[in-house]
């Protein structure tokens, strides 16, 4: 089934699903988009719910409908939902903003702004990424600072000055008090907020190459497994507990990889999107059905896959991403967009729904992702 495209006449930098309340078993229906490169940028909320009567025979081909939007100062560099009603954005002006969404999704308003959270003395320092774990928010920027906020406090909680001498491109929470950042000289740095010092708890980097890394995501169940992507379009899977080399290097894209996401409930699936205009859905399968694998064939090239099984792994459930025996595990990739577009800047996946945005001013929504 092909995704539905909607042209919204602004280049899209970020798309995010609104979280669904776990109590109600709903399909994700509402998503947010942020624009960039316009004279006035906007954060918009869209809905792909079933409008009116849904015909079980026909495809759900409703286009996303705009519910509400708000003006945004500067490019939207990152967007994250703090909870059901609040949205945090990172701006190219260096500001971090919290937007409040009315329960009926009829309006989006500014709740709080940390102006110039990231700054240079004589210039604007874009805030490049933001990550939330309610009520805490962490932002990183081109000025090399890592900043911790609490959503309800107006003052910033903590600033790690000079966390990095190069630009930090992305950040993710590893544990409640630990974050992992990636920068433009190819390093992953772990920061522990419980520690007083301003130096990273751990630094990992790719020896032999200093490829700028643009995105990072943590495995939802196993916190030591992290996926990153960077300028060369390769997908790296790391085990942060050990070593300086990534566990797997996979040739994924022919240009910068902008986002990588593990599927939140089914982590054997991974999604990546890139400047080359493609969105790939990666699936690892452990052993079993060889016939289906042979039918579907190889779609990717696994460059290296460590053959050494992990030491100290005592649980019988070994993650498919790190399992040593490559003959038992396969990695497949499928293109999710029907044809090549301009750069796919962002993607988000929740349950069976995928949304992504491109520089071709189009949003694609896929509501039956095979996970």
């Amino acid at each position: 089934m092909d995704p539905i495209a909607k042209y919204i006449s602004q280049k899209i930098s970020k798309t995010r699903w609104r979280p669904i309340s776990p109590a109600l078993l709903q399909r994700p229906e509402v998503f947010a988009t942020g624009s960039w490169d316009n004279e006035s940028n906007r954060v918009s909320i869209w809905s792909v719910g079933d409008h009116g009567v849904s015909n079980t025979d026909s495809e759900f081909d409703e286009e996303p409908q705009l519910l509400c939007d708000s003006q945004h100062d500067g490019d939207v560099m990152d967007l994250q939902f703090l909870d059901q009603d609040r949205l945090v954005s990172a701006s190219s002006s260096g500001a971090v903003t919290i937007f409040k969404l009315q329960p009926d999704c009829q309006s989006l308003s500014l709740a709080h702004v940390w102006e110039r959270a990231h700054w240079y003395s004589c210039d604007n320092a874009p805030c490049t990424a933001v990550v939330c774990r309610s009520p805490e928010v962490v932002s990183v920027g081109e000025d090399g600072r890592v900043i911790l906020y609490k959503a309800d406090q107006t003052e910033v909680v903590r600033v790690i000055e000079n966390a990095d001498s190069s630009t930090i491109h992305a950040v993710t929470f590893l544990r409640t008090t630990e974050v992992l950042t990636v920068n433009s000289i190819g390093q992953l740095k772990m920061w522990d907020f419980r520690q007083q010092s301003d130096s990273p708890a751990q630094i990992l980097s790719l020896t032999g190459g200093r490829v700028p890394l643009h995105c990072v995501d943590k495995h939802p169940n196993q916190q030591h497994i992290v996926a990153t992507g960077g300028q060369d379009g390769m997908l790296y899977i790391w085990d942060v507990r050990q070593g300086n080399t990534p566990f797997s290097l996979i040739e994924a894209h022919s240009a910068e990889m902008w986002e990588v996401h593990f599927h939140p409930s089914n982590p054997n699936h991974l999604f990546t999107c890139s400047e080359d205009g493609s969105l790939l859905h990666w699936e690892t399968t452990s052993g079993s059905d060889m016939s289906t694998l042979l039918q579907r064939g190889w779609n990717s090239r696994v460059v290296s896959h460590s053959a050494v099984p992990l030491a100290g792994e005592d649980d019988s459930v070994v993650s498919a991403w790190l399992a040593g025996d490559s003959s038992k595990n396969r990695l497949e990739a499928t293109h999710m967009l029907p044809n090549q577009t301009l750069s796919v800047n962002s993607l988000d996946v929740l349950e069976q729904c995928l949304v992504c945005g491109t520089d071709g001013e189009a949003v694609y929504v896929h509501r039956q992702v095979p996970v």
């Binding site: 042209y7 000289i185 200093r210």
Partner: protein
């Protein structure tokens, strides 16, 4: 691409249900078709138009449309602007559409005699759409025949546009009303029904059609002479029109509203087999008759006239002057060029007309804050100068964020524009340096493989070290990797930092070896030798002998080499004193070390 001389098969464009109440406007582009909503509404609520221009790209092999979207900033401003601006821009768009379609009919489809008129009729119908609204209004009223615009509708719409069947339908309402004149109406009905329409796909030849048409024409004339319709002045007018009486047709000026409508109607009822070369004669005379002697022709009229005269270059020229918008001209020319209809009109600076116009249009796009990515595509399609233009323009895109710079760089790298890559990276590196982001600056220099800048950054680091006594940004220096080899100074920096690290880890002999190699391999800049030698002091002062005899001799020679150099005349006495004290200390330490080393190496371990 050969000239298209068959009717293209209709393509269904999906997903355009919002177009139900609006006319579909379309424009040809280079290989694409731009489809947009015009503000022409047939009926229905006045909803805001969607500010979209759809691009339908014809796939070469399969001819199935693939929908992309290209937003046109001009069109966007139309929707959002205030009323006056809205009116103004819409009229330009309508004019553009009119010219486009005419060019399509005349040049692209290149319809021969017979179908030419049919196409012109279609063209006129497309641009006079309010007719349908009126017709519907009349038909849906309670008593259509009594409706005040009834005869207007019959005449204007239907007859003047050659839509005979619909005219008959409307007329039948009148006929049912008046029983006594029903025979007259029946007569009219027959006349209208029997009007021959040329069928291009049929087996009838043009000559046969002509014969048939003449017969019909004579029949109409006979009715006129017989005063068959004298009882009803409306019907009388209609039959006069059918006969092709120019004065009568001219009387319908209000309903026709434009001279080209008059032209087409006139041709419909006098020369339906008009041949393309003869068109311009009728066009000129129609215009004169319609507009009258005193009214000067508008720019639009001139353009249309040039089109009727099949003077392509004149059309393009006039369009360029009249419309302040390169989009139309660029796309039209490109399309005509693809159809090989445009002989390359070589301009003085070498590129042909089509390329020139596309370049102009794309350059205009480049200045737009977000459409520059599109412009790149256009430049790619200009074989001669596209690359040069792109090279010049791409460096001028304002780069507010690193992410945008990365995208621009990707465009350059894909096209092997290494000069531009270097220049953009240098801009980013300089900006980073100004903001004291040494790591970023180095990262950009490495990407550009810019050795000179890398040297500059290393100097900066070393300066910081000399001033503060310690290194900043250790995370960067410790992880330089192979990038270290980009520049000598950078290599030195990396190795020097490594020396400090080794020292910190108490790996003295390795540190010593490294330090020495830095000087002997001449990686270290001369100015820093003193610093390096001073760094060697603690190693010399250790209880254990670290430097071997040979190494000590080398250090000594380095020291002497340093001192044999010409003294800098700018140094003050105080500085000279410090220098000489340092040298003394070093000499002493080296001598002591040498003594111990000789002893150590000379001793046989028992």
């Amino acid at each position: 691409m050969e000239e298209v001389d068959v009717e293209p098969s209709p393509m269904v464009i999906a997903d355009l249900n919002s177009f139900i109440y609006r006319h579909l406007g379309f424009e040809w582009g280079p290989g694409d078709l731009l489809v947009y909503e015009t503000n022409y509404k047939l009926q229905g609520p006045r909803t805001a138009g969607s500010p979209l221009v759809h691009v339908v790209r014809k796939d070469e092999d399969i001819c199935s449309p693939i929908l992309l979207l290209v937003p046109d900033s001009n069109y966007r401003s139309v929707i959002r602007a205030c009323m006056e601006e809205l009116q103004h821009n819409v009229s330009i768009l309508l004019a553009i559409e009119l010219i486009w379609n005419l060019c399509e009919v005349l040049f692209i489809d290149a319809a021969p005699a017979g179908s030419l008129l049919l196409h012109l009729l279609d063209w006129v119908r497309l641009h006079k759409s309010d007719v349908d609204a009126r017709a519907r209004e009349v038909l849906q009223s309670e008593s259509p025949a009594q409706h005040q615009s009834y005869w207007d509708v019959v005449r204007r719409t239907l007859i003047l546009q050659g839509r005979m069947d619909e005219a008959r339908q409307v007329l039948s309402k009148q006929a049912s009303l008046r029983a006594e004149s029903s025979s007259v109406f029946k007569r009219m009905d027959v006349l209208l029904q029997t009007m021959p329409i040329f069928n291009p796909t049929g087996t009838q030849t043009l000559t046969e059609f002509d014969v048939k048409w003449r017969h019909w024409h004579e029949e109409c004339d006979r009715c006129l002479q017989d005063n068959t319709f004298a009882s009803n002045r409306h019907l009388e007018t209609i039959v006069k029109i059918l006969v092709g009486d120019e004065d009568t047709i001219l009387e319908q000026k209000e309903l026709l509203s434009t001279w080209y409508h008059f032209l087409v109607t006139r041709l419909l009822f006098t020369h339906p087999t008009i041949k393309p070369p003869d068109l311009h004669y009728y066009a000129q005379s129609s215009m004169n008759m319609f507009l009258g002697p005193r009214a000067p022709p508008e720019p639009l009229d001139i353009i249309l006239l040039s089109a009727f005269e099949f003077d392509l270059h004149q059309v393009i020229k006039d369009c360029s002057i009249a419309l302040n918008n390169w989009w139309f001209v660029a796309h039209l020319t490109d399309l005509l060029d693809h159809c090989k209809l445009l002989q390359s009109h070589n301009l003085h600076f070498g590129s042909n007309l089509r390329e020139f116009l596309v370049l102009e249009y794309a350059s205009g796009l480049f200045t737009h804050h977000s459409l520059w990515q599109l412009a790149v595509d256009y430049f790619d399609h200009c074989p001669e100068f596209g690359r040069v233009y792109l090279e010049l323009q791409i460096e001028r895109i304002p780069l507010d964020t690193e992410r945008k710079a990365i995208k621009v760089l990707r465009i350059c790298e894909d096209r092997q524009m290494s000069e531009q890559v270097r220049s953009i990276c240098k801009i980013m590196a300089k900006r980073a340096l100004r903001n004291n982001r040494l790591g970023s600056a180095l990262s950009w220099s490495i990407r550009a493989k810019d050795a000179a800048f890398a040297t500059l950054i290393s100097e900066r680091f070393l300066q910081d070290y000399c001033n503060k006594g310690s290194f900043t940004d250790l995370d960067l220096l410790d992880n330089l990797g192979p990038a270290m080899l980009l520049s000598d100074r950078l290599t030195f920096l990396g190795k020097y930092r490594e020396f400090h690290r080794l020292y910190g880890e108490n790996r003295f002999s390795e540190a010593a070896k490294l330090l020495l190699s830095l000087m002997t391999a001449k990686i270290a800049p001369r100015g820093l030798w003193m610093t390096l030698l001073t760094d060697a002091l603690p190693l010399l002062e250790q209880k254990e002998v670290i430097f071997s005899v040979d190494q000590t001799y080398e250090l000594m020679s380095c020291l002497e080499e340093l001192n044999s150099g010409t003294k800098d005349s700018n140094t003050t006495d105080q500085e000279e004193d410090i220098e000489s004290t340092k040298t003394e200390l070093l000499r002493l330490a080296l001598a002591r070390n040498l003594a111990m080393a000789i002893v150590k190496e000379g001793t046989i371990e028992t």
